[in-house]
Each structure stands twice: as structure tokens, then as C-alpha cells.
């Protein structure tokens, strides 16, 4: 909904993502802020931002598959692993550059999503969720058994390089991660406004009606899985080349469940919702990790008995509260807030 007094006079204005001058100012300020974090942030903040950006990329993919197309995927962490290992193998074994390995990691993960998304053609809902969870176990099982993937010991991918300049520090790598995150957000935002994006939404809302309307639901379901897993593969590749180590234990089922939780809290079916969900959950985790020892020190009689499960309890409680009181997520609250200030004093919401 545009601010009062703002009208679109042509198709270009109508289809613009960033429409008003204020929105341009905010976007540019946010980008400048993001790209200057490595200059003023300490190591902890830079690491937090980098990891959050990687999660944003992964959850953007899940948003396309689950939020827009309605195909539940509980194996998203497994597809991240596919991307991470592909990228590591291409750089270690074949000596390819990271800049080539990155998109190839995405494509490989996308193709694996294509394969494991095939059950989506015949099943949905709970059964599809189980099938994707099984995909995760299959992927991790294979990675743990092959010599070429280092079995349980994993692999040590090299840091990316630009010529002879190695991006082997937290600061240098954060620029790469933030840039890729901005690019993937741009791609995701535009994808959902294309014919494919509209087809995803139609399938999510009523796949039978979509089929009757002439949408090839088999094609678009597989495409949703491919694109979602492409994003996961990109995220996995960045993770591996940042931490310089990948093991199968880094990609777990609880991680996939946390991604779903981020979608619920942020808001399904919205690109902005990904940002709300990922940032709020990451900060919640950090806050709980910070406060648990303080709590245990403040109440010695109880000690870590209460503090230890605090994170799990908090995460579960937040998800349940959102499902009950705000199932549309933080993005819905943000939209209410925007309408409230844009139409003030006539915002009768």
C-alpha cells in the first residue's frame, strides 16, 4: 500500500519495488550501514552479521519453496550440505576457483532438490514433510560414507581468492557474504513477481484450481524445489569457504526445523518476512546464550538446571505464541504499523 498522495502514473512506477524517495533513502542507508559493519564492528558482530546473512540466503530459498509454493521442506539443511560439499570438492579436488564453484554448488543443490522434490508431485502436507526429512537423512548418510567427502571428518575448503588476494579473514569474507545476500534477495524479490512466482502462489492457495486454470503444477512444484535448494546450496558454499571446514554434523535436522521456525516467526509468503524471522531468532539465540550463565550465577541454588534448557524452551515458546497470536508473523505486524503511520490519523485498522 503506497503512502498517501503517491500515485503510479505508468507501468514502470507501478511495478517498481522501491517506489518513493524515502524508500530509496532507507534502502541506500541500509546498504551503506551493512557494508560498513566490517569497518566498525568487532569480530563478534562481524561474525554474527555474516552468519545471519548466510541464514537469510538459505531461508529465502525455503520461503520460495514453502512460503510461496506451499511445499513443506524439512530437509533444507541437507541441501545446504550438498552445496557446501560440492563447492569444497570442486575447489579442493579440481582446483576450480571459488567464484565458479559457488554457482555450481547452487545448481548441484538445486538438482538434488529436483530429485528429492519429486515426491511433491504425489504427496503433500505432513507426508511431504516426512519425505523431505528422509531426503536430509539420505544426503547426510551418503556424505558420511564416501571417501571423497572425507566421511565423518569432512573437508577443509580453501578461502576464496581474487587473484593472489585471499579472502581468508572474517572481515574480507563478510563483504562477500553480504554482497551475495543482497544479490540473492534481489533475485528472490523479483522472482516472486514473475509468472513463476504467481504460479507458486496459485499452487499454494489451491493447487487443484491452479491446475484447472492451466498451470502445470508438476513443473512449477519441481521448479520451486530447484530454486529453493539453489539458494540453500549457495548458503552452504559460503558457509564452507568462510569457516574453512565442513562436516556432516554441521547440517542437522534441528537446523532445518529452525529454518521453518524462522519462516513462521517472520511470516510466510513474504521476502521481508525472511529478514524479520532470521534476525529476530538469531538475536534471541544470542540473547539466551548470553543470559543463561548470568541467570545461573544469579540463582546458584538452581544453577544450570534452569539456564541450560532455556534456549530450547524459549525457541519453542516463541513459535507457539506466534502460531496462536500472530500466525502471519512479524511481517504482518510491520504491515499494520506501516498502514498506521502512513494513513495517520485515519488508520482504522
Amino acid at each position: 500500500m503506497l503512502p498517501c498522495g503517491t500515485f503510479s502514473k505508468d507501468y514502470g512506477e507501478d511495478s517498481a519495488v522501491i517506489r518513493t524517495r524515502l524508500q530509496w533513502v532507507i534502502t541506500i542507508t541500509a546498504l551503506v550501514f551493512l557494508f560498513t559493519i566490517p569497518l566498525w564492528g568487532n569480530d563478534y558482530i562481524i561474525g554474527l552479521v555474516s552468519y545471519t546473512c548466510i541464514l537469510i540466503i538459505a531461508v529465502l530459498g525455503l520461503q520460495i519453496t514453502t512460503g510461496y509454493c506451499g511445499q513443506v521442506s524439512l530437509g533444507h539443511a541437507g541441501f545446504m550440505a550438498v552445496g557446501a560439499y560440492t563447492s569444497a570438492l570442486l575447489t579442493i579436488k579440481l582446483g576450480l576457483s571459488f567464484w565458479l564453484a559457488l554457482p555450481m554448488a547452487g545448481i548441484t543443490a538445486g538438482l538434488s532438490g529436483f530429485v528429492f522434490g519429486a515426491p511433491a508431485l504425489r504427496i503433500k502436507g505432513f507426508y511431504l514433510a516426512l519425505a523431505t526429512m528422509a531426503a536430509h537423512y539420505v544426503i547426510i548418510f551418503i556424505l558420511m560414507r564416501l571417501e571423497i567427502t572425507g566421511k565423518t571428518a569432512g573437508l577443509h575448503p580453501p578461502p576464496p581468492e581474487i587473484g593472489n588476494f585471499a579472502l581468508n579473514t572474517n572481515v574480507r569474507m563478510s563483504y562477500v557474504i553480504i554482497s551475495v545476500m543482497v544479490l540473492m534477495t534481489f533475485l528472490a524479490k523479483n522472482l516472486v513477481r514473475t509468472k513463476a512466482g504467481r504460479a507458486f502462489v496459485a499452487i499454494r492457495d489451491n493447487d487443484l484450481a491452479a491446475k484447472v486454470m492451466g498451470i502445470n503444477i508438476y513443473y512449477y512444484k519441481l521448479l520451486a524445489f530447484f530454486i529453493g535448494c539453489f539458494f540453500a546450496g549457495i548458503a552452504g558454499s559460503l558457509l564452507g569457504h568462510w569457516w574453512l571446514v565442513i562436516t556432516p554434523e554441521m547440517f542437522t535436522i534441528p537446523q532445518s526445523l529452525i529454518f521453518i521456525g524462522m519462516l513462521i516467526i517472520g511470516g510466510m509468503g513474504s521476502i521481508s518476512g525472511v529478514f524479520f524471522g532470521v534476525i529476530s531468532l538469531r538475536l534471541l539465540e544470542e540473547a539466551v546464550t548470553l543470559f543463561a550463565p548470568l541467570l545461573s550465577a544469579a540463582i546458584p541454588a538452581v544453577g544450570m538446571d534452569i539456564a541450560a534448557p532455556l534456549a530450547g524452551v524459549t525457541f519453542g515458546l516463541v513459535i507457539v505464541l506466534f502460531l496462536i497470536f500472530e500466525p502471519r508473523g512479524l511481517v504482518h505486524r510491520w504491515q499494520i504499523f506501516k498502514v498506521a503511520y502512513r494513513f495517520h490519523p485515519f488508520s482504522y485498522v
Binding site: 569480530d43 554441521m250 540473547a287 548470553l290
Partner: protein
């Protein structure tokens, strides 16, 4: 409408607080070392609510109690110890984030990442910061090739490497087999978590079993958290296993042995667990009938032997902890993480190092290698760390559950060097 706006405002404030606080803490300057009290800290990137919470929460408690006791006596020439425990829930990302938060603390000398993937991810960061890494039993860090470490850097292994432990188990199995009057060689089954820790014992242990001539069945692995073990245990039994090594951190081996008990397998197969299995307050309490007769491989004193050890008794009295609440995990923490750290600092002080010099990783390791001259043994086997041996301990003791109690069945047995039999990449 007003209620809706109020709700929006409250939620917004909460969300903004959540956003602001970690940023404030993350950006805040670390407090300067207090002028009067000098601390040397150990950062434990622990797991208090994940799959290995049983051992790490108890172990951290034991180490903390030991440090509090030493600090209460005035420390070592006024230099006191601090334990910083962070719950990472066995997640690498959380471990890395937690380390980045604390890495600028100048008093942190030793870092213990509890979890093998976390060790791999944090190794370069910890070495770059000049700190010392302490790890439980990953064998490749003990390997030397041509006089150099396979993995160069500053580290010590606070328990015998898992593959060395497995070698000791193989030796005990052969001895037990022959003591029972059997001929030939026994058949040993391997059943462990399907992760890096679960596979670790075979990296060298498998080669040692072949060398000894024992028949090691194809290993069976299961996902962390699995509760159903019927099929693989039956497979091992039908393959003729006389002994089965059941790995994992308690209550995992307890659940495994319970499954075997329900199948009637514990009558004909001897089950053996590792350092982190069948604790008296977990596995021993959950399934006392099932674990009866099970053998435990331990690098620290267990059961009543641990509780009644003079050091543990001193610490129990200091904290007012009744004997019944002093667990195996607490003894483990005292004897391994706590005492190793403390003995290094004590040795450094006795060698005349200043507080600032002790905070240098190389100096601490040098002192740790000399610490056996000052160390009171007792809770663990002999201390063997040196400049050419990252192992702090290289012997284990076997216990067996008899009438609900952990009874020692051997003295401290040296672990064979099985790590060197495997070619690590």
C-alpha cells in the same frame, strides 16, 4: 484499537531490546583485568542442553568446584582461576559465535570446544589468538610425523585418545577371553554414534585389532538420539560377537544395553562402554538390572572410588555436597579439565613465571609439561604430557557394574599407541 496499538508498541519495544542488547554486549569493551585479583580463565564451549549434556554439565561443575577450592586457598601465589562455561548445544555455529564474543578477553588462556566439528572449525581461530586448545580425545592431534605435529599448534588432549582407549579395550578383551579359559580369539562388535566421535575409535583402533588378531565385526552406527537398537544388535549377535563395544554419551549406551537386555543378549555378550558411558547417576540409575555386568573403560576414578578419593572428599566437604550427589561426571571434571589446567598454572608459578607470561600459550604448555613434578595424582592415571606428547593421560581403568555399583576390575592399564597405526590425511 488502543489495545492493538499498545500491543504493537510493547512488541516493538521487546523486539528492539532483543536487537540492542547483544549488539551492546558485543560492542562493549571487555572489562580490564582487575587490579588486585589476577585471573587465568578457561573458556568451555560446552553443551548443557544437547546430546552430550550429561557429561559436560557435570564435568564443568567438577572443574568449577575444583577451581573455587583452589581460589579459596588464595590461588597460586595470588593467581586465581576462572571457568567460563557457554552452552553451545553441540552446535558449531553457536560455538564459533560464542568464541568470537570472548576471544578478546586477555585472561582466557585455554579453550575447550566440546564437540569434534567445533574443534576443527575453531582450531585456526584459537591458534591465531595464541591460545591453547584442550580437546577430549581426537587422535590426529596426538600424531607426530618426522618430529613435527601433524596438526601444528598449541594443544593438549585431556583424556587418552579414543583410538588408544579402544586399543586398551582390545587388550582387555583378549585377556578376559583367555582368563575365561577360552581358546582362539574373541569376536568384538563395534556399535557407536554415526558421527565423527563415533567413528574416531576405529581410526587406529581397527588397525590395532587386526594387529592383535582379534576379529572385529563390521561396525554398526546409529544416529544420535536413536532409541531403537534391536536390529543392529541382533545383527551383531548373529555374527557371533562375544563382546560389543557400545559407544556414545550416557544415556545412549544405557539405552543400547537395555535393548540388548530385553533381547536376552547381555547373558551371552559382554558389553563394554567408554569414558562417557554408564554414569552412576544416569545409566546405572535408569536400568540397574540391564547394566549389571557391563564393563566401563574409564580414564578417571568412578563410583565410590571416585567419591572417596581424598581430593574429591575434600571438594565435597568444601561445597557441602553429600556423597550421594557426587557423580562420576563431577569426578571426571575434577580430574581431567580442572586439574590439568590448574597444574599447568601451578607449575608456571613455581617456575617463576609472571602473571603476564603465564597468559602466553607456549609458556603454559612448557609449564604443563613440567607439572608432573608437582602434581598430586589420584583422580586419574599417571600424567604424561610433555613437549612431544600432547596426551595428558595414557592409561585407563576398567570397572564393572556388580550389584548396582561400579567396582574396579583392573588397575591403571596403559593404552597402546594405536593413533600412530592410522594414516591421517
Amino acid at each position: 484499537m488502543r489495545k492493538g496499538k499498545l500491543l504493537v508498541s510493547v512488541v516493538s519495544i521487546l523486539v528492539l531490546s532483543l536487537v540492542a542488547l547483544p549488539l551492546v554486549f558485543g560492542c562493549a569493551e571487555k572489562p580490564a583485568v582487575p587490579g588486585k585479583e589476577k585471573y587465568v580463565s578457561l573458556l568451555s564451549l560446552s553443551d548443557y542442553s544437547g546430546p552430550i549434556a550429561t557429561i559436560t554439565s557435570g564435568g564443568d561443575m567438577g572443574a568449577t568446584i575444583y577451581m573455587e577450592y583452589v581460589n579459596a586457598q588464595g590461588g597460586f601465589d595470588g593467581i586465581k582461576m576462572k571457568w567460563i562455561g557457554v552452552d553451545t548445544r553441540y552446535d558449531t555455529a553457536r560455538g564459533i559465535s560464542a568464541y568470537r564474543r570472548y576471544r578478546t578477553d586477555p585472561t582466557i588462556l585455554v579453550v575447550i570446544p566440546q564437540g569434534t566439528p567445533m574443534v576443527e572449525a575453531l582450531w585456526p581461530l584459537i591458534q591465531a589468538d595464541g591460545k591453547v586448545l584442550s580437546l577430549p580425545g581426537t587422535g590426529k592431534y596426538a600424531v607426530r610425523t618426522n618430529g613435527d605435529w601433524l596438526v601444528p599448534g598449541k594443544a593438549y588432549i585431556y583424556a587418552p585418545p579414543y583410538q588408544d582407549m579402544f586399543g586398551a579395550i582390545v587388550d582387555w578383551v583378549v585377556k578376559d577371553w583367555l582368563a575365561k579359559g577360552k581358546s582362539g580369539m574373541p569376536v568384538l562388535g563395534y556399535y557407536n554414534w554415526d558421527n565423527e566421535y563415533g567413528h574416531e575409535s576405529l581410526l587406529g583402533g581397527k588397525e590395532y585389532a587386526e594387529k592383535v588378531g582379534i576379529k572385529l565385526l563390521p561396525p554398526e552406527f546409529f544416529p544420535v538420539g536413536a532409541v531403537e537398537h534391536t536390529v543392529p544388535l541382533t545383527r551383531l549377535a548373529e555374527a557371533g560377537a562375544n563382546y560389543i563395544f557400545a559407544g556414545g554419551v550416557d544415556p545412549t549406551p544405557a539405552v543400547t544395553i537395555k535393548s540388548a537386555f530385553d533381547l536376552g543378549l547381555t547373558k551371552k555378550i559382554q558389553f563394554i562402554v567408554d569414558y562417557w558411558g554408564l554414569f552412576d547417576h544416569v545409566g546405572g540409575k535408569l536400568y540397574p538390572d540391564a547394566v549389571e555386568g557391563a564393563v566401563i573403560t574409564s580414564c578417571y576414578l568412578r563410583g565410590d572410588e571416585g567419591r572417596d578419593n581424598p581430593w574429591c572428599k575434600k571438594l565435597r566437604d568444601f561445597k557441602g555436597i553429600p556423597s550421594s550427589e557426587w557423580t562420576d561426571c563431577i569426578t571426571a571434571g575434577v580430574g581431567t579439565t580442572g586439574m590439568h589446567f590448574a597444574s599447568g598454572i601451578e607449575a608456571a608459578v613455581k617456575m617463576g613465571m609472571s602473571y603476564e607470561k603465564i597468559l602466553v600459550g607456549d609458556n603454559f604448555l612448557k609449564a604443563l609439561s613440567k607439572s608432573r613434578d608437582y602434581r598430586e595424582e589420584g583422580v586419574t592415571g599417571p600424567f604424561v604430557f610433555s613437549e612431544t606428547n600432547r596426551r595428558t593421560l595414557d592409561s585407563v581403568r576398567f570397572y564393572q557394574y556388580k550389584n548396582g555399583k561400579e567396582v574396579p576390575i583392573t588397575d591403571w592399564m596403559p593404552c597402546p599407541d594405536t593413533v600412530s597405526l592410522h594414516s591421517f590425511r
